[in-house]
């Protein structure tokens, strides 16, 4: 246990190298800076996939290492998206309103601009006033703070309540799922201030960057997502390699024993839960400006289960496993449900991938759980063992 994180954990240097090569390759092939072989929309898909990998990394920390099967981490992801989305939407709408009002005979007052912005944003839910939760939406700095603070605070309060009363295992999963459902139902209401089921839209227009085309913005976001993922990977590898990592793995394997050894198990769990909640918030804040729209459907409980499934397919308890699982499943899902996959003609029966992919995916989860509990990461073990043999 000495040396830097790069020598202690071989996967870190490999991962960072691969990520850097990917970033260079995407840049070289992009429309904004390179040959143009990759379309803007595909660049965005890649950038979004990196954000999902980041969320999966967080999920792996909390589940694979600490043994808490949270079905609420995609809610934190969505909250991060909502926090940045409020700023993007406010700033963008305000620009449009200013442009419209500049034609007026009398120059508009600040009050008129704020009121007109609010009525433009909220007319879709029949309101004209700013709800309280938009108070920070006119400041980028504050919104960036909220991206981390709001999911973090929710995770902290929820985790404190749950861990304090020793809700563990299956019960905790159900409770986190209930939290996710409550949050999405809350957001679905038109009168709670986040535009109900309309969600926030037009998030791909970054205020201040109107002159920069989407071709370059998409690359910038790709770089941002890759940077966040790389840093989080190094941080996570550092966390799980030291004493802290041993303790949380101990909690995963036998919580009672770690408690009897004198460790404050609740504090460790609460820290991991909150920290990963913040990570998911950051991932969401990077994801939704690329997706362009966020609505409460994104937060539905099923999304959080998918997150767990990605980690399970990639291989729990190994950081690269989570990333591989998330990237593989989400990219394949995009491919098969995007309608671009050729239908498979079996003579009697034609398999339409858009329809049959979910069936295949579902049965895939079952098979992976039954026969490959280590997930795709288990393949890496096989390769390494073959090398050594």
């Amino acid at each position: 246990m000495s040396g830097t994180i790069f020598t202690r954990n071989r996967s870190v240097s490999i991962f960072i190298t691969v990520l850097t090569l990917l970033a260079i390759a995407v840049t070289a092939l992009s429309e904004g800076y390179g040959t143009g072989a990759l379309s803007v929309s595909f660049t965005k898909v890649l950038g979004m996939t990196l954000c999902l990998c980041l969320a999966a990394l967080a999920m792996d920390l909390v589940w694979g290492y600490c043994g808490i099967l949270s079905l609420g981490h995609f809610a934190f992801f969505g909250l991060g998206g909502y926090m940045i989305g409020m700023w993007l939407m406010t700033a963008r709408t305000e620009q449009v309103v200013r442009a419209n009002l500049s034609e007026a005979v009398i120059p508009p007052t600040e009050g008129e601009i704020t009121a007109a912005t609010a009525s433009q944003i909220f007319s879709v839910v029949g309101a004209t006033d700013w709800p309280w939760m938009w108070a920070a939406s006119d400041s980028l700095i504050l919104s960036l703070v909220l991206v981390v603070a709001v999911p973090g605070l929710l995770a902290l309060v929820f985790g404190w309540l749950a861990f304090r009363s020793r809700v563990t295992g299956v019960y905790l999963s159900i409770l986190t799922q209930a939290m996710t459902l409550a949050l999405s139902l809350y957001l679905f209401q038109n009168d709670t201030g986040l535009r109900g089921n309309n969600g926030l839209s037009g998030l791909q227009n970054i205020p201040g960057l109107e002159t920069v085309g989407q071709d370059r913005i998409s690359i910038w976001f790709f770089w941002g997502s890759a940077l966040a993922l790389g840093l989080a990977y190094i941080g996570a590898a550092w966390m799980v390699s030291g004493k802290f990592g041993n303790i949380i793995r101990g909690i995963r394997d036998d919580e009672q024993r770690v408690r009897f050894l004198g460790y404050r198990v609740e504090i460790y769990k609460l820290f991991v839960f909150t920290f990963t909640g913040c990570l998911c918030g950051i991932a969401g804040a990077l994801y939704y400006p690329q997706a362009g729209i966020i609505n409460p459907d994104e937060i539905a409980p099923i999304a959080s289960i998918y997150l767990a499934v990605w980690v399970a397919i990639g291989g729990r308890g190994r950081l690269y496993g989570a990333v591989i699982g998330a990237a593989a499943v989400s990219l394949l899902s995009t491919y098969f449900t995007g309608g671009r996959a050729p239908n498979l003609d079996l003579g009697l029966f034609t398999i339409d991938w858009v329809d049959w992919w979910p069936v295949l995916l579902g049965l895939g989860f079952v098979l992976v759980t039954l026969f490959a509990p280590k997930g795709l990461g288990g393949l890496v073990d096989l390769i390494i063992r073959k090398d050594r043999a």
């Binding site: 099967l69 009398i106 008129e112 009363s165 999963s173 499934v309």
Partner: protein, 656 residues
């Protein structure tokens, strides 16, 4: 060819030949026709105001044809011949040519094309007046059904003249149903139309404690108020209350009333101020101030004040002036009803009724809560076995509910009789989902008993696969699962409390399930073995119980019950592929709140969650989503207090 031509020619001649002329002066004109002709212009061009005169004459004549005439007139089935102004009926309004019928004798008097007669189209107001006149005839009809219909017509559109008619009817009526309806109707008519306040107050007091909608609809208009403003309280009006600006009435609204009455100068809103400024821009300046500087409220106020000083704009009232105007006037509500004794009696009676209604509402709410609880119980009871007793997290539980509902749908497409099809569907749904549950247990779950969290993932995989397969087979649109007629209605205790039969059936089904399951688990050999395997599989195995077989049967039982629940839920919810997904989180919460491993717990959990959700909905009736949100938050907090649920297993049985 020639014959065809001749036939056509003949037809043409017949069509264009003048209809046999029977002028209004014919001696054969019947007494009704003569009477109607005497007011021909009032009949042909009736207005709400003028029609009363015609009706009086007609009713006074006591001619036998009058009721029929009025009914036809009201139904727009009366025609007037253009040539001589004769009023006629026609045999078939769509036939060409029209066959004309005499209004007195009913005899055919000729034909006419639709151009030669004018259909009389009394407007809605006239129709109503004719209708209420017709009522008098109907009330005298032989058939009680006709008299009931007449009373119903009065009920929907009461008129002044009906009061005496209903009073007369009650004096002579013998049929019990008619009498009952008339006696319900009488207070309403007395209150609305009687001229003696004492009678009206007596009628109001006779309604005390009557929670029916019609009683409340009778009393509420008496207490209708209008808001008014004046410098002093007006004399001789029935004042409901005096409104104090700022507490009883919004200050802005109060001032707006003053402005509307011309009692105070209008406010100048920011938008109006801006428009006035914009209208006074001269060479890029407003009252000497450059336009570019007008981007703040202060600058605009200055510019506006300058415009006022130049006489170009009306001065806006200051805050002090507004206060002064508000203080100088009195705002009040007056009853539309002039008599204070009547309004006092009405508000006292209505107050008593409202209290009773509140009690009945509470009862209705409890029934609603009970019904929702029984739905949650049905959805969760299967889970109480698979999750509660066996500890398997079955995310595909909702899909078993959905499959049960689709089984019911398929049976209904094959068996058209709804009662029979439900009777077939229930055991069949149990069989299908029992088999599905056993297959799933054998293929997937038994490999994962020592890894409970992974069961969650594997069964979630099953859940999305099953949902998608059903979507492939049945499509995404909702399929109907129609309840038999005897389940379609609802049981109404009064106008406040009613409950649909299907919910009663679901409640009964829940009770049956609970009893059957409790007996199975506690009184049968299978139940004993299930409990043994749950508590200690190894010990049970050494006692000669086959844990594999018991696990398989238990899981099958839980799934089968979900299938039956699916049939019941499908009867009132839409049968769609994600039917079950909507219930899964609530079902898990029900089981967890109630306490795992115990069907009593599930019962109490369902009761608590269902009751609570209805209660929150009652606090905020417009928003069921909010009710669900707060209910879930409550459950999360509740778990903090009792992490093992309401009924927690203690000791070794609790395991961990």
């Amino acid at each position: 060819m020639i014959r065809v031509f001749l036939a056509a020619l003949l037809a043409l001649c017949l069509a264009t030949a003048p209809a046999p002329r029977a002028t209004a002066q014919d001696a054969a004109m019947g007494p009704l026709q003569a009477l109607v002709q005497s007011r021909a212009d009032l009949v042909a061009d009736a207005s709400r105001r003028s029609v009363g005169e015609v009706l009086e004459i007609l009713i006074a004549s006591e001619l036998p044809g009058v009721p029929g005439f009025l009914a036809r007139w009201q139904a727009r089935e009366l025609y007037q011949r253009q040539s001589d102004g004769l009023f006629v009926y026609v045999q078939d309004a769509d036939a060409t040519p029209l066959t004309l019928i005499d209004i007195d004798t009913g005899a055919v008097i000729g034909t006419a094309t639709s151009r030669e007669v004018a259909q009389l189209r009394p407007n809605r107001g006239v129709q109503t007046v004719i209708g209420s006149a017709l009522v008098a005839f109907q009330l005298a009809a032989e058939d009680p059904a006709d008299r009931l219909a007449a009373l119903a017509a009065i009920d929907s559109a009461p008129e002044d003249i009906h009061l005496a008619l209903v009073q007369d009817l009650i004096a002579v009526e013998t049929d019990a149903d008619v009498l009952a309806l008339a006696e319900v109707l009488l207070p309403r008519l007395v209150i609305a139309f009687d001229r003696d306040d004492a009678d009206r107050i007596a009628a109001i007091e006779s309604l005390a404690g009557n929670v029916s909608l019609s009683a409340r609809a009778t009393l509420n208009p008496l207490l209708a108020t209008t808001t008014g403003v004046a410098t002093a309280l007006p004399e001789g009006e029935n004042i409901a209350r005096v409104l104090n600006p700022g507490t009883d009435i919004d200050r802005d609204a109060a001032y707006a009333m003053l402005v509307a009455q011309g009692l105070a100068p209008p406010l100048v809103s920011r938008a109006e101020q801006r428009d006035i400024l914009a209208a006074n821009v001269i060479e890029g300046r407003v009252a000497g101030l450059p336009v570019a500087q007008l981007g703040t409220d202060d600058a605009r106020d200055t510019a506006y004040a300058a415009l006022v000083a130049q006489g170009l704009a009306a001065p806006a009232p200051t805050a002090a002036q507004i206060d002064e105007s508000l203080a100088a006037h009195v705002f009040f509500e007056t009853y539309r009803e002039a008599s204070q004794a009547v309004t006092d009696a009405a508000s006292a009676t209505l107050g008593g009724i409202d209290t009773r209604v509140a009690w009945f509402r509470a009862l209705d709410l409890s029934l609603d809560g009970l019904s929702l609880a029984s739905i949650y119980f049905l959805a969760a009871i299967g889970l109480a076995i698979t999750f509660g007793v066996m500890g398997v997290i079955n995310m595909a539980h909702g899909e078993f509910i959905m499959i049960g509902a689709y089984t019911g749908y398929v049976v209904q497409t094959l068996v058209p009789d709804y009662t029979l099809s439900i009777a077939i569907a229930i055991p069949l749904a149990f069989a299908v989902t029992f088999a599905g549950g056993v297959a799933m247990e054998r293929l997937v779950i038994r490999w994962l008993y020592h890894r409970p969290l992974e069961t969650l993932l594997a069964t979630f995989g099953m859940s999305i696969a099953l949902q998608q397969i059903v979507r492939q087979i049945f499509g995404t649109q909702a399929r109907p699962l129609t309840p038999p007629d005897w389940l379609a209605g609802s049981v109404a205790i009064n106008d406040v409390v009613s409950i649909s039969s299907i919910r009663i059936a679901i409640f009964l089904l829940g009770v049956v399930f609970f009893v059957a399951l409790w007996l199975t688990l506690n009184r049968t050999r299978l139940g004993l073995e299930v409990r043994a395997v749950t508590q200690n599989p190894k010990m049970a195995a050494s006692m000669g119980i086959n844990p594999d077989r018991i696990n398989m049967l238990t899981f099958g039982l839980g799934s089968g019950i979900a299938g039956i629940a699916g049939v019941a839920i499908g009867l009132f919810a839409q049968v769609v592929p994600d039917l079950g997904a909507n219930y899964i989180v609530q079902s898990f919460m029900t089981v967890v709140v109630g306490g795992v491993g115990n069907i009593f717990g599930t019962l109490i959990g369902a009761g608590m969650i269902g009751g609570l959700q209805k209660f929150i909905e009652w606090l905020n009736p417009t928003n069921t989503l909010a009710a669900q949100t707060y209910m879930i938050l409550f459950v999360i907090l509740f778990i903090q207090v009792r992490p093992r649920g309401i009924i927690a297993l203690r000791g070794r049985a609790a395991g961990d």
